[in-house]
Symmetry: C2
Subunit: 229 residues, 2 copies
């Protein structure tokens, strides 16, 4: 008989669902940076009272993707080039640490999961689903954090990807180009399976730098435009 492993049951509070809905709207760019969230309107749309909505918004404020000014409102965070720069430079450091911690803990299950997530990225890429592509790519990247066996590190990473996902989504929406067909994660996955930890760490740095430059350029353009307007 197969070993059943019941996971925790789904959160059944309205608050949790609101958090999920709002987060998704923000991370996919449906709610744009700087935009104000009108409590009454959103509550009506969701057929929910303002109490759980406000609690949900508090969570997202602490998560770093909303910002709140007393008696003025709650807004989607603005994306500045410096924010992206900050997030990425920290991400590099964390990546190195995560790889180091994960390295000795790699096993067959790790490699299987790595392949599985890699496959998910490729599938989203083939389907030209940019939103899903970003999601899956970040999940692929997040495996080393989940495997590092350090809950604080994992939390930190999860806070970071919220923003990164938002940045990427904005970038993609702005470009509105078909996704590159090549498999940019091939090397990353291969190195994580290999024996040279330093090489994997180095690649993580450089691989990130690649997308990073594009993002930064986009963000700088954004700022110039908005400062003109």
């Amino acid at each position: 008989m197969a070993k059943l492993d019941f996971g925790p049951i789904a959160d059944t509070t309205r608050r949790a669902e609101i958090v999920a809905l709002l987060r998704r709207a923000i991370l996919t760019g449906q709610l744009e940076p700087g935009q104000k969230l009108n409590e009454l309107r959103i509550a009506e749309q969701m057929r929910v009272s303002r109490a759980p909505l406000r609690e949900a918004m508090r969570e997202l404020v602490q998560e770093g993707i909303l910002t709140s000014i007393p008696y003025a409102g709650t807004f989607v965070i603005d994306v500045t080039a410096k924010d992206i720069d900050d997030a990425y430079s920290l991400n590099k450091v964390l990546d190195e640490f995560a790889i180091e911690r994960t390295w000795k803990l790699r096993d067959q299950r790790f490699f299987d999961e790595l392949d599985s997530r890699h496959e998910a990225v490729k599938q989203a890429t083939r389907a030209l689903d940019t939103t899903r592509q970003i999601e899956t790519a970040l999940q692929l990247h997040g495996l080393i954090y989940e495997w590092a066996d350090n809950s604080v590190l994992l939390e930190t990473w999860q806070r970071l990807i919220s923003r990164l996902q938002m940045y990427f989504a904005l970038h993609q929406r702005a470009r509105n180009e078909p996704v590159p067909a090549e498999d940019v994660h091939e090397t990353y996955v291969r190195l994580l399976k290999g024996a040279d930890m330093r090489a994997a760490q180095r690649h993580a740095r450089e691989h990130i730098d690649l997308d990073f430059e594009e993002l930064l350029a986009y963000a700088r353009g954004l700022e110039q435009r908005t400062s003109k307007g």
Copy 2:
């Protein structure tokens, strides 16, 4: 005429004050790990309705010092040896990064602030005020994060010190010993003023390791006791 630099005005929402009150109670150990927070009772004590209290609790949950289970309650997080280990190992990495980023930005104001915070620690030590000593020591340590000019890094650090402060406070309360009179931060401050960045980074690691070992031993003892009971 001196340049006036008006800081932001105080938050005037009840929510913000509740957050401050609760956070302080948790970080000083007045609310013990694992303890349940009864909304009705706390609301009555603070002469406040449950709405702002619940929002405040949501923030602290996201901050990582409370944990919430739907329909069951909100609890102060438990302190396990692994949590401390995780937090500290990440802290080492972040310290190194913060020092690196700060190094080139050091100026006279930095050195002055460093001395000022160092003095605050010494003063709290002389006054035998352990709670304040922990606070000031963490603030001294946090200067490199404030100076690193990386908002994401700073946020991450602030999330970390919430827990560290809680751990330290518990430790101190448990020992209930007079605080060591020697100045353990002397070398740290001197190296941050010096010219050898690597040395400063190395010391940050080792300096932390020192207190860390004590904390870990304490936490392990705690866990054994609770598993027995």
